[in-house]
């Protein structure tokens, strides 16, 4: 039930909601629980709310750490 899915912010509306694209599907979500977010950023969506903005720099570290580590 704590499932949350990453999606890309497409459009931000005045009522603090946004259109989020998840694998080609557009969902409307509340931005009430996160600080300012920009169009193009990725957020984590849970039960109709964006619950966190995905940190793009941290997201790459796993590949840097393990790419070609053992061969």
């Amino acid at each position: 039930m704590c499932l949350a899915i990453p999606g890309r912010v497409k459009k931000i509306f005045n009522d603090h909601t946004a259109e989020i694209e998840i694998g080609g599907i557009i969902k409307r979500a509340s931005l009430d629980l996160i600080p300012k977010v920009e169009v193009g950023e990725y957020v984590l969506l849970h039960a109709g709310f964006a619950i966190e903005v995905i940190n793009q720099i941290e997201a790459l570290k796993i590949f840097e750490a393990w790419e070609g580590k053992i061969d």
Binding site: C2, A4, I22, L44, A47, K61, W66, E67, I70
Partner: protein, 366 residues
């Protein structure tokens, strides 16, 4: 899909797995306390690919499964009231109460509606001003800020016919209760990634400091889980006990400040009853008096005497003492089509995950 597909890279998974094999010497039990982890571990066959000395145990990670029968009976009683609409996440409607389920009440003409979000429930309240709309507030810290946000919106918009029956629960106290009970030996916790997105890593510090049990907050894709297991094994083999964050792209040590503010504004921490585990000190959330207008407990209902499903061993499953196939009802009398206990109903229940992913294949049990 970005932030999903790349974390399923087989080559990198092999690299991590190989490293786990190299460093892992001790026989260990690692417990995951999030139902989404349980499902991800089964779906990706992670138990099978790990060295045999690493045993993964599922804990009380599904909020639907840990909701006690008495709370199901409470929402069922509310659903029988005239002019009441019950809104709930889908997983709840088939959970057996003492003598009924929300699904059965629906066929008996109760107005029960499945929603995807608390905001959908709020909309139903706005569209039905002459009826009382109750939302079944089940969830851990991932979901409770979304419930709090809906209550704040209802207060602000004077949507007085919107109420929540709060059965929300907090994760760290149940982990403490499991450690205190000493029923299972837990050498490390795979901590819940999305609960931690809200609460951060700090609330787990006492587990490492007081109980000497390593914790790693993990994401949900195969590479996340494997890297998290590697980090745990690395701590265990080096006799360390710390709280580490593997899921750094989402989780900050301090958590999500805004979401925490919403929770603290609306809820107070109370003792809470967990199915199969019992009452746990300061492990639940109740709506503060100042938001009483939106607390469904202001409606007085009679709740029937609690009857636990006969023979169901959910409690032991939730505490990690037995695995589902050890329950005599598993797969015979208890199936997802005809579930006897909550752990078989919810898709994130351990019994449902075992049933779905181990049937017709060699058993993946340890």
């Amino acid at each position: 899909m970005k932030y999903i597909d790349e974390y399923r890279d087989k080559r990198i998974a092999q690299n991590i797995l190989q490293k786990i094999n190299i460093i892992s010497k001790k026989k260990v039990n690692l417990m995951e306390v999030c139902g989404t982890h349980t499902v991800a571990i089964f779906r990706n066959d992670i138990k099978k690919i790990l060295p045999t000395n690493i045993n993964l145990i599922s804990g009380p990670g599904c909020p639907v499964c840990v909701t006690p029968v008495s709370h199901i009976d409470e929402i069922i009683s509310l659903s029988r009231k005239e002019d009441f609409i019950i809104t709930t996440f889908g997983d709840m409607i088939r959970i057996p109460g003492s003598t009924s389920t929300l699904e059965k009440e629906k066929t008996n003409s109760a107005d029960i509606r499945i929603v995807y979000s608390t905001l959908d429930a709020l909309k139903i309240a706005q569209n039905n001003p002459s009826q009382e709309v109750i939302f079944m507030g089940v969830g851990f810290e991932t979901t409770s800020p979304t419930i709090a946000s809906a209550i704040l919106k209802a207060q602000e918009g004077k949507i007085n016919n919107f109420s929540v029956l709060s059965v929300a629960k907090i994760m760290p106290p149940v982990m403490k209760a499991l450690l205190e009970s000493k029923e299972v030996n837990i050498d490390g916790f795979i901590c819940p990634g999305h609960v931690s997105a809200i609460i951060g890593s700090q609330p787990f510090n006492f587990i490492a400091a007081q109980y000497g049990v390593p914790c790693v907050i993990c994401g949900f894709e195969p590479l996340d889980i494997l890297e998290g297991i590697y980090m745990l094994i690395n701590q265990i083999e080096n006799d360390k006990a710390e709280v580490e964050i593997q899921y750094k792209r989402v989780v900050k040590p301090e958590g999500n400040r805004i979401a925490l503010e919403r929770i603290n504004e609306v809820f107070k921490v109370v003792d809470s009853n967990w199915r199969g585990i019992g009452n746990i000190h300061h492990s639940g959330l109740e709506i503060k008096d100042k938001y009483n207008q939106h607390n469904a407990r202001r409606f007085k209902v009679e709740i029937e005497e609690t009857k636990e499903p006969r023979g169901c061993r959910c409690g032991e499953v939730l505490r990690g003492i037995i695995i589902p196939p050890e329950c005599p009802l598993f797969g015979e009398i208890c199936t997802p089509e005809d579930p006897q206990g909550a752990c078989m109903v919810s898709s994130e229940g351990t019994c449902a995950a075992y049933y779905k992913y181990s049937r017709g294949r060699p058993c993946v049990c340890p």
